[in-house]
């Protein structure tokens, strides 16, 4: 990849000086040049999550997605192979697909009618006799991402022929994806129940900074914690009403920038027992009892409620509760998060509505407080250039040699900052 395709002349910040042991620099959140470099060096070099196989189950199914800010079509071609190519006509650059999802064997550009197959090959151009003999259809297909691979249905793409495989990129995080997916009796997720898109006037890394942050619920989510104490004997979110460092909750830096927070050890008993009632709880439990007996349903309810695990796969995939969150940077101070709720293949159909209702809880009563705080952070960082640093040093002393932390330790965030830095250094360009 050529350096400088995003901006010219290229200005090169001294990234090493901007990420320090206990602090990082505000410009990482505010400078357009940094964002341009991120789109090139992270989203243009790393494995990026594109979508889930179950979103495009049939031949010729497609959905629109993104690789950083680049529009991408994720398509299952006529032979059933999952493909990813830029949504950019080879002729004049027009986005050839302009519908979020659907099924088609042909993508026809609205401008001059170049027509591509569901695997991205150029099939024909109108009045082709005028193109001349040197024109070669094979040369002008929709440009594919260099590599596309999937793990447990999660499809990733990367703009590089070389570098780590997807398995190497996921590393030990793969076992947590397994744990999340293996709640499904059939071992597969279904991602076809709707997507909620939120947009925040904030840099995309503000989401990542909170991905395994077990400290912020005590302040950010007090409204949710206090409101929830009305129900369920007060067990729900009780892990965030006690001294967190006395609980068994923990967080981890999983390597390669991936982060993990396990809330389950902080919950009293099973997760279901600490789940506050949702619309339909009584009817669903009743229907399950009638069919499976009261003894048999605890396992069913345990996989109907939230997972209690927060897994973040650098740079853009988040597994929270029962939803897949996709961090979609728009600009240096604008970020979209796409939440796709999941269901479990092979799960009892009676449990689905309750799973969906429980999955609406955090987006309604948790996300709003996160979003507000990201936007407040962005304002402070942008508007006060004289104060240059953000503190990231909680627990930094004595962290060497460990990757598991007390839940309030900022270790997982520091680890992903170091991975961010590794991508942003130009002299590491060959070893990504």
């Amino acid at each position: 990849m050529s350096v400088g395709i995003w901006s010219s002349p290229a200005y090169e910040p001294d990234y090493d000086s901007l990420v320090q042991d206990d602090r990082i620099h505000r410009s990482l959140y505010t400078e357009p040049i940094v964002f341009s470099h991120e789109m090139e060096r992270i989203f243009g070099c790393a494995w990026v999550y594109l979508g889930h196989e179950s979103e495009i189950p049939e031949p010729n199914d497609f959905k629109l997605t993104n690789l950083g800010t680049r529009p991408v079509i994720l398509s299952r071609d006529a032979d059933g192979t999952v493909r990813a190519f830029f949504n950019r006509c080879s002729h004049r650059g027009v986005t050839v697909c302009n519908q979020d999802r659907g099924n088609t064997s042909r993508f026809t550009c609205s401008y001059h009618g170049w027509t591509y197959s569901s695997s991205g090959e150029l099939l024909n151009v109108p009045f082709s006799s005028g193109m001349g003999e040197s024109f070669n259809l094979e040369e002008w297909g929709l440009q594919r991402l260099d590599r596309v691979d999937s793990y447990r249905g999660f499809v990733f793409g990367v703009l590089s022929d070389s570098g780590p495989s997807l398995a190497e990129h996921l590393g030990t995080a793969a076992t947590l994806i397994d744990e999340w997916v293996d709640r499904a009796p059939d071992g597969e997720l279904v991602v076809r129940h709707g997507t909620r898109r939120i947009v925040a006037r904030a840099n995309w890394k503000l989401y990542l900074d909170g991905a395994a942050d077990g400290l912020h619920p005590f302040s950010t989510h007090r409204s949710f914690v206090e409101m929830s104490a009305r129900h369920s004997d007060g067990l729900f979110l009780s892990q965030f009403r006690r001294d967190p460092d006395d609980s068994q909750m923990y967080s981890m830096a999983l390597g390669n920038g991936h982060q993990y927070l396990d809330q389950r050890p902080g919950m009293d008993g099973h997760v279901w027992d600490a789940t506050r009632p949702a619309p339909g709880t009584e009817a669903t439990v009743g229907a399950l009892e009638a069919r499976y007996g009261s003894e048999g349903i605890s396992e069913i309810l345990e996989r109907t409620t939230i997972a209690g695990m927060n897994v973040f796969i650098f740079p853009n995939l988040s597994l929270v509760d029962n939803s897949i969150g996709v961090v979609q940077p728009r600009s240096v101070n604008m970020t979209e998060v796409l939440w796709h709720v999941t269901s479990l293949a092979g799960a009892e159909p009676e449990s689905l509505p309750l799973r969906l209702r429980i999955g609406e809880d955090f987006p309604n009563f948790g996300d709003p407080d996160d979003i507000e705080n990201w936007e407040r952070a962005q304002r402070g960082l942008e508007l006060v250039p004289e104060v240059e640093w953000l503190h990231t040093g909680r627990g930094v002393e004595g962290e060497e040699g460990t990757n598991q932390y007390d839940v309030t330790n900022e270790g997982p965030m520091r680890a992903y900052h170091r991975e961010w830095l590794r991508f942003m250094r130009t002299d590491d360009a060959e070893s990504k």
Binding site: R197, I198, E336, L352, L356, E360, P368, D369
Partner: protein, 189 residues
């Protein structure tokens, strides 16, 4: 309190919203004037954040639903919000904690309802549909939410303290951009 959220309710909601896009002209007489009074009162109570009084306008088995798509089946589809009476009360309690950062300071809202149409279902039930725009102001930010409202209304056993003859059983909010990126939603629409 929440036992009424079951397969039958989901099925009725689905049919109700499917019917909403094939309705014929609304009834000329019906209960239009009473329903208008109710809807205007409701809008005012929400703008004034009189949530306890707003709650009095809702039936015991009420639904406040913001679908991602108005033709979604709520039994198999996620929603922006799907509240039964208990979760509506949770929502009011949540706002009442004073710790919702997106409501600190509180939003000023003014909502307009237009194109109100009313159909009589039976002696005790009617449906209404209207267009709304809700302007929301927070410091340095003025935004608006717009779309349509579908209501299932039930005749009150007796007029409420606020004087209404009808109660809101279902309020279904279809935002025109429900499937697009949403700014932070912390108010009741």
């Amino acid at each position: 309190m929440s036992a009424y959220v079951d397969d039958e309710l989901y099925s009725r909601l689905r049919v109700f919203m499917r019917d909403s896009i094939s309705l014929s002209q609304s009834d000329p007489g019906s209960h239009r004037s009473e329903v208008e009074l109710l809807l205007f009162q409701e809008a005012r109570l929400l703008d004034d954040r009189r949530y306890a009084d707003w709650l009095d306008l809702l039936t015991v088995e009420s639904v406040y639903w913001i679908p991602l798509n108005p033709l979604d089946d709520p039994a198999t589809s996620w929603s922006i919000a799907f509240d039964d009476r208990r979760r509506i009360e949770d929502r009011i309690a949540w706002l009442g904690t004073g710790k919702v950062h997106g409501q600190t300071p509180v939003s000023q809202t003014q909502r307009s309802l237009t194109n109100i149409e009313v159909w009589t279902v039976n002696e005790k039930t009617c449906r209404a549909r209207c267009t709304f725009i809700c302007h929301e102001y927070r410091p340095d930010r003025h935004r608006h939410w717009s779309g349509r409202l579908d209501y299932r209304l039930e005749r009150s056993p007796e007029p409420s303290a606020g004087g209404a003859n009808w109660q809101i059983a279902w309020k279904i909010v279809t935002l025109i951009d429900a499937e697009g990126p949403q700014e932070n939603l912390t108010i009741i629409l």
